[in-house]
Amino acid sequence: MSDIKNIFDIASRGMSAQMVRLNTVASNLANARSVASSDAEAYKAVKAVFKTVYADDVQKTGISSVDVDEIIEVDRPAEKSYQPGHPKADKDGFIYTAAVNVDEELVEMLEASRQYENNVEMVTTLRGLMMRTINMGK
């Protein structure tokens, strides 16, 4: 990955990280009511874990951005329900619904999109400042 040199590096990394987070939310929501024949096969919600990347090794300047460290599966059992007529039911008549909490995902989506917007807003503001600085003395 390239170094963090200016506001554009900071914001673009931040936006990529939020985008990954939004993608995990999209995957989770798309799989929210999916059904499987066993707990192991059932879809598990995924979450992005962020970490800070500093512009300098000694972290002196305070300039940093964010990267996605890893994407983890949430350790939560699938919802087990008794539906013997279901085509995916196991031999005891149970089906396993994906362990996705839709409310939680929606909150996550709102937060991620707000933070994405914050980054955009920041760049817009500072770009305006840079333009005015370029035109200084005219």
Binding site: I7, R13, G14, V66, A112, T125, T133, G137
Partner: protein, 128 residues
């Protein structure tokens, strides 16, 4: 040339520091969801003082070099959060946004001062 430099020096330093502070605040905003991230900021008045300080080495002649005694990094410090968060992150978005907009406003003020100084110089040069 020296006098022109002296004429605008303070505002130029202020502008530089404001730009740097903007980057630090931008870093904080970008990291508002990172676990264990600690918000940073610089003490503007102290940093500006360090930039303008000539330090213990006195300058008695125009041809002497001024010795810059600042640490160079302007000492980014850690912010104390008002409401602690569960994941150890000390960024509070409202605080950062307010600081950011204040800093942007002050940057524009410095810029405006510089512009005025330049137009003052221009009219002095033209003598109109």
């Amino acid at each position: 040339m020296k006098s022109i430099e002296n004429h605008i020096q303070a505002h130029a330093d202020a502008l530089n520091l404001r730009a740097k502070r903007n980057e630090i605040l931008a870093s904080n905003i970008a990291n508002s969801a990172t676990p264990n991230f600690k918000a940073r900021d610089i003490d503007f008045s102290k940093a500006l003082q360090a930039r303008m300080d000539v330090g213990p080495v006195s300058v008695s002649n125009d041809r002497h070099f001024k010795v810059y005694t600042g640490t160079g990094d302007e000492g980014a410090q850690f912010r104390q959060s008002v409401n602690a968060s569960q994941d150890g992150n000390t960024v509070e978005l409202h605080v950062e946004q307010m600081q950011f907009s204040e800093n942007v406003m002050r940057y524009q003020t410095s810029l405006e001062f510089l512009n005025r100084k330049f137009s003052g110089l221009m009219s002095a040069i033209k003598g109109e």
